[in-house]
Amino acid sequence: MTIHDTSYAAVMARKNEIMKQSLGIDYDDYVQSPIAFDYERMMAETGYTMDDIRRIQRETKVGDTPLFELHNLTAAVRRISEPGKGATILLKDEAANASGSFKARRAAISAYQALIKGYRGMIAATSGNYGAAVASQAAQRGLKSIIVQEVFDSRGVGQPEIVEKGRKCEAYGAEVIKLSVGPELFYMLLRTLEETGFFNASLYTPFGIRGVESLGYEVAEQVRTRYGKDPDAVVITHAGGGNLTGTARGLLQAGCTRTRVVACSVDLSGLHMASDRDFNRKSFTTGHTGFGVPFATWPDRVDVPRNAARSLRYMDEYQLVSQGEVFYITELLTKLEGIERGPAGNISLTAAVTLARQMDEDQIVVVQETEYTGAGKHHNSQLAFAHANGIEVRRGDPVENVPGKAIVIPEHLSQVQGRVQDMDKLRRSYLKNAAERLPVAEWSGNDFEFLAADIKKDVEWVRNQGVA
């Protein structure tokens, strides 16, 4: 066995070589410049059709999840809306997937790919539902799994939500590497991939994203069958961008070209994502702006050379909600609709309430996921933990929420308003990030076309932004 230098710098320098070994994808094949690459060809060359994806997922208890109409919540929204307003709210119950979240769709295709390529196991670096999804899918395919997880701060204290996710991974037979706070998670992933020769079940490979396409496709099929039309809007919780990208691509493949694709994140502005102190002052560990904004404005900051999750390519709007609003809606879902689901999965439901209020009564807004709930992953445990960490928890107007300081839970549904994120600002920020990779003077015609497609605008718009 070769003894490698395991210092931070040495491992990071071997990144490309480790990626090639652990994924079986040579990204150099697709790269056209420091900015542009052949995105569609990369997605197509996974070799899977929609039928393949659905068949593979059915084999391991993934997909065909129910779509529920939330009658009582819809009625409650109509009571606070202007006459004629208040769209029907539908909920895709993704908690019904093996391992309890939509992430099973991503893991299913990665596990299948790992199996047919002859890998003995798979590894993912995640503190989210994806870990359990990888562990569950690996177990069903007879593969070993390792989950690399950021769990605790320097006091050894972990968010109850993350602790629960670690437990679930171990329950499915995964080895869980629990780490202290820091961006060295990626370093640890690379080291473990190199040591084991396992498959890199990154969240951001084309396999993972193609796996989510079935979700958008099912939404289109189910809404058409039951309501005889396409959904008017689909609301998608946004963090790394895979949920949004995959769902939107699935909707487009089903022909839903007029459906509005709405991103939604919990507003955690002001908290630093690599900070040991701020780590346990967040009451959401995903679905928040600490991931959503940087990943939208530069997707290629991930554990693969080019990210298959490119949210601005598909996003029409971006709604922000506060932690208190999501906890309120989570409790309301339980009491009004008789289903208990995890708070992180209800981020998009919170935005859907705001949207439904603005939309016409005969329109349809789809919330495309839920997640499982249980000890640790429950709004009561998250709030109790926040309180124990010195965060003020009270009822009031949610505009008074201050991330890391105060969680203000609305007193009435009419106070659930969210706020809109400026899309053009995000797009300009993306272009500035691109200009840091390659000076604007060196952008080719192909680069301009790639950038325009990547932010859902035309080349003319890109040229007129002052960046270019």
């Binding site: 320097s154 590497i177 370093y187 102190r277 906890f327 009004l336 429950h378 009561n380």
Partner: protein, 95 residues
Amino acid sequence: MTKISTGTWVEIEQIVLTPEERAPSLPPETKASPYVMRVSGFLVEDAELGQATTVRTIIGRELRGMLRVVNPSYSHSFGETVPELLTIGTEAENF
């Protein structure tokens, strides 16, 4: 010190990177601590708490570290009742 027997399910801790070895440009409060890993497995030799040892993880990998916990368990819960949630969606709030 009590000897923990071979085959016992334990958690070990390993310092992966000292503060000096950590990634550049970390916030100072993060940079102040080492980068630490904890992992569970079966002891492959008799060992004492606090001692360097080796475990075999659930998937059969051997990893070294300091023996930290015997029979590591989960005790996370639903937390103490948060009264602010109780009345949401009830008659008291006009639903």
